[in-house]
Assembly symmetry: D2
Homo-oligomer: 306 residues x 4
């Protein structure tokens, strides 16, 4: 395997203070934790950032602060755009660009009966009106529609389109992206954390794993290890990856679990946006024990192999 660089982008959590407002102090701490872990980029206000749960003005405020916090960061800053409709996406992107945002990860319009033609028109209109730079964000579990490979090929030719993040959980679809669409100027990112390892092995340009909020260095190490030449023993990596996924299932809502783990590491608080509820006091001790134990196991594994 060649020394291809697979990049780790963090789908950043959005920390909240007890009163439901954004906790920008925690925000800065979490960003610093990830930068220190060696990540190459951030996806802000994506699904993990609860972007769809905050009112528009709050999201714009997050963008303003992010541009500020990350002004010295060399890597990519992507902002999630999870609107129902083309018009709302255009309106939001325009306002975000006024605040300095440049790159966006944009889902298709989502609702009944969206055709592949509707998807193309969606991105065409956004490209034409906003001149934003954008990642296609395939997320059928949410939008109800999968972007077909032939459609991705068409979208690739639109001005401003930078690449694709696929979060469909479909390994074969991702392989088709790699062999039939990927190119030098069209990177392909794996958004389904559980498929990170095989995706890297097959040539993904990047991964965007939720767990990177908690253990950024692990995923950076995984991306480098898996892509390196001389190893074939993935059992430990799969085992640890599996435990990071187990961590996310500690409560029914994965963001509550991730925030609980982050709190365990002293990074941010565990509040989540309404109407969801954060981890209860009763759940926290088990989460803390699990997280700290896992942190130790990860450090040992990283030490033992390179």
């Amino acid at each position: 395997m060649n020394e291809r660089q697979c990049k780790v982008t963090v789908p950043l959590l959005t920390p909240l203070s007890g009163d439901g407002n954004i906790d920008y102090r925690g925000f800065g701490k979490l960003v610093a934790h990830c930068v220190q872990g060696g990540v190459s980029g951030f996806l802000i206000l994506g699904t993990n950032g609860e972007g769809y749960l905050h009112a528009g003005n709050v999201r714009l405020d997050v963008i303003r602060h992010s541009e500020d916090f990350l002004s010295g960061f060399q890597g990519m800053r992507l902002y999630g755009v999870l609107e129902h409709s083309t018009d709302e996406a255009v309106a939001f992107i325009k306002r975000a660009m006024d605040l300095g945002a440049e790159k966006f990860a944009i889902v298709p319009p989502f609702y009944d009966a969206v055709t592949q033609g509707d998807i193309v028109r969606h991105y065409e209109k956004i490209a034409g009106v906003t001149r934003a730079r954008m990642f296609i964000y395939n997320l059928p579990s949410l939008t109800g529609v999968n972007i077909e490979i032939e459609t991705v090929k068409k979208l690739k030719r639109l001005p401003g389109v930078l690449g694709i993040k696929n979060s469909s959980g479909d390994m074969f679809y991702f392989m088709q992206l790699l062999s039939r669409v990927k190119s030098e100027d069209f990177p392909v990112f794996q958004g389904s954390e559980e498929l990170a390892l095989p995706s890297i092995l097959l040539g993904a340009d990047g991964i965007i794993p939720c767990g990177a909020n908690v253990f950024p260095a692990f995923f950076v190490w995984l991306a480098r290890m898996a892509g390196s030449v001389s190893t074939g023993d993935y059992d430990e990596i799969i085992r640890l990856s599996g435990k990071i996924l187990d961590l996310q299932n500690m409560t029914s809502y994965w963001i509550a679990s991730l925030k609980g783990a982050c709190e365990s590491l002293g990074l941010i608080g565990r509040d989540v946006s309404s109407p969801y509820t954060g981890m209860s006091d009763g759940e926290i001790p088990r989460c803390r024990t699990f997280t700290l134990q896992l942190e130790k196991e990860i450090e040992e594994a990283m030490k033992s192999k390179r």
Copy 2:
């Protein structure tokens, strides 16, 4: 069967002018057409009203005009609230109430991993903060979550809750609503047009059929006929209902079909919101022929029976 009154509410289409703005002249015409047909209420900015496709300020503008147009109308005016999150729903409802809106049909928060507890908290918070009067709007095909019968029972006890509109397409679920939740002060509405007839027969308090935009008088007649005592021959009603549904499948997007039919009757234009596309010039003649023929068949059927 007793002379129970089953009410017809129109899930109103939102007419557009060629430039993508709301066509308020068409709006008035469509409203008048429905009032003349004898309908008992309007659901504005629901799924058929493309409520999820218009930016927030446009929707508020529609509400302002609706309150104006319908100021003399005795029946119910419901406004659709199709927001992802509790916070956005609260924000929108507050602004709508400032414009005079009183009653809303509100979907659950929609996204991954919504629990029945989240649904209760969603309506509780909206009730507490806005004091709006609201219909529960069960729409799992969109929101990804079904509101369980036991949850409906809990929601029924919240202040301001007026009833439920079910659009899940599940007949048995609807029967459970009728026998286990329905009461004098908690009417149950059928939102799935294809189930209108059996729902009326079993005691639905109302139906909210898309096709009522085109043929309001038919549904008013259906609601009265079906609920009346002495008839058992539903073949003609099922046949005509089926044709109205066929009409909605003339293109892949049902709203484009409905607007095409409305244009055929000289009511409103056929434009739909981006990124969807309206009926093409090539499709219109067949749609017009079909619509006018169906109009004639409906009139004859209504004449022959009562």
Copy 3:
């Protein structure tokens, strides 16, 4: 409503003795219970009869005994044919006809990638080779394929085809069967128990409810009541129907629940075919209490209304 006759067919349970063999004494008792309840027919070795779980020779033995037990019964005797493939269906039907069986309820071939054309060929070949008289048995939850309305129209024209039993749970599909396919010589039966009432109201020729094994007289009464002219209060019927369905959910396997209920009434034992397991000793008392209480409620309801 006219005095249309809606017929009740029992999808008969197959009683087992403790050693896994058929309990023909129980079989006779259950049949007598149903005949006494006034049912019009039996579907033997259907899904409720665990037809798919018994080896071929056992099923043929059941047919031999059934023809014997029911020799004096005037109503319909239908035998379920739940084979994967056309060839196996043909082979089984031939052997069954040698034993005197005449009418069958036959599912489509089931496996991947079955087209509507394959379905037609399946019934055509069976009709051609066996000259059996057959009901089309639409059961997509098992076979993985729905028989489209246009396909049913084609099948209706095949020699030997007697009618259709639909168990798809789709009310609208059933309405299309009623208005677009049903005729004097092609009766349409509702196989989804939970939709029995609205189906009768709209003109179903028959219902085939699992619960009729336990409470045959209730369903005969329901079919007559619902189709009669002068009543509009279905709340009690829906309530009791719901409790019969609740009864079937007492364990995870509905047949185990039904057999538990039958045991409670002293009809047959509660053993089910391998690898399923019957109700445990611990579950039986609750089941018995529930069943006996329900029996009483049903009797009272039937007494109070005609």
Copy 4:
């Protein structure tokens, strides 16, 4: 990567003569083609062998011939057992063992409401009664039930259980099998052809790809190449794998496509079991051109790399 051996098992097609009988001359030719290609085993009468479409006596006849044809073959001979019920599986296996069959790939019982406990009881009973050696065959698209990881762990401990073939198409599930269940004496096979490459990379003990009927040498080469140390360029392999999958989509029924391709190579005829239909005369020329062109591309690729 270490020089782990990933084995290729062919899920053998069952050739038919024009009259619907088994074509044993073609059978021998196809087997020889695969042996020459270097495969390590055969799965006979699996889904690709249309095992579920042949009557029991025909399947037993296939087993008799297979044991004969493959008497000198060193590799594994697995026979598919695709029965609805435990009893039918036991009956079939006993008769097959009388004919010399030793190893079986056995699906769970399939029907409604199968629990994980039912699955364990199914294999337990088969193990106890038949003493067969068996592969667990996870095939939820057919059986309607997925065998959970914890259940696989339990099944692994049963006497006679040899390993698992997973055909669920779920990459993450397969990774869990690899890291949490796989052991020296419990090999894990990938049955979903489209996931062959990443599965080999992560340590699958074997692959069972449909396409190996047509191009056995390609998959043997793929298994060796992918597992070897020094290459990282999978684009050509993914491209060719994709074309083999395209080949299988030339008609709606993948077995008809595979048989058409085999006919193009002069191996076996294109007839398929009733009620399916084989490729039409009109489809054959395109299939032949595609197959021969692909054969050439594969040979060139194999020549260029090792």
